[in-house]
Symmetry: C3
Subunit: 158 residues, 3 copies
Amino acid sequence: MDIELQLTVENLLARYVHALDGDRLEDWPGFFVENGCYRITTADNHERGLPLPVLFADSRAMLRDRVSALRHASVYEAQRYRHAVTSTLVERQDAGTARAVSHFQVLRTMQTGETTLYACGRYLDRIRLAGDGGRPQFEEKIVVCDSRRFDTLLAIPL
Amino acid sequence: MDIELQLTVENLLARYVHALDGDRLEDWPGFFVENGCYRITTADNHERGLPLPVLFADSRAMLRDRVSALRHASVYEAQRYRHAVTSTLVERQDAGTARAVSHFQVLRTMQTGETTLYACGRYLDRIRLAGDGGRPQFEEKIVVCDSRRFDTLLAIPL
Amino acid sequence: MDIELQLTVENLLARYVHALDGDRLEDWPGFFVENGCYRITTADNHERGLPLPVLFADSRAMLRDRVSALRHASVYEAQRYRHAVTSTLVERQDAGTARAVSHFQVLRTMQTGETTLYACGRYLDRIRLAGDGGRPQFEEKIVVCDSRRFDTLLAIPL
């Protein structure tokens, strides 16, 4: 078991969700390599191999556009999100890359004070271990949501 | 603090819940030693020492029977489960065995897309560190549920 | 990355929530140094720098008083709590101190068997690594709740 690899990946995932939940959206693209791939999909579609993501981006530029859109719409700040990432399984793919799969859930607290479960599912990640500045970054992050309901899921990064 | 032991146990628990949530039920008995013990009980009964488990098995054969029954009833596939295991405390018992206690929760997503909290509580595990093929396996797993409601809990492994 | 520091802090947090959820409230003050600071606040107030905690204590004696009050009121035993602490980021501050920030959530199970989400948010901790008996203890623990609703939150430690 590669202890350092395990904790490096857990640390990346922790910093990622702290950035999102701390409303530091502008930091979000920096968690990906320049041509990083980000996709939100449903478990149903993922299992059937359907290429119909809820959200898709294949570069940091697209992620930055997404952040601009969210800031412009001001939807993100209206509520608070709280991620929990657990049960991360890591596998080294080659000298510079690892794959990780984790469980996640997101709670959302409205301005009224009410908190509900917003989403849950799995993160399927391919990670470049020495990305910009030697820090690990996502080459690919696929967010597979357990639910197929997406009325509000379109709004925010997971 | 035994770092390797801690991460070995966390890895076992992570693989266990990935198997369950990934509907790989046939892999479930393999997480136990041949005469492994599995029990689901309530916190109330556990504290009072009442020997009334909701579910009980003391061999892999019984776990396999359970899987067959679930597959036959086709209840398991009808919805998705998502475990979160956290706060795992590990203690070495002897050279070959460790004890672990963890918090868990399980979310359930129905085919309608609705997600609700299904169960939460504690895992009380006794683990053989070098089981079949040198991999760690459960000698005993006691699932202590916080709630005493069990209308649906009977159906699936936790 | 300091692996031992990371796991030491995660272990402290795990023991802390196991004590609370196991109704071992009398152990709670012992997780703090003698003049340890404990505060529950809301994200709104925390961000605005408002000095209006929901709960405040700056010594173990005050925490002990709190436990006595809870035991006297017998509110704590009436239901079960289940914490999940995740995504812990640790930073060494100096030779003897570390800072940690984590996500947390608490589920509450009533005697009727119903479980609901009770609170979620962040733990902001300053930890003395070699406290009493050489064990780590909290010098300061700030519990920042995402919700600003506090009808019931006043009752129990988080």
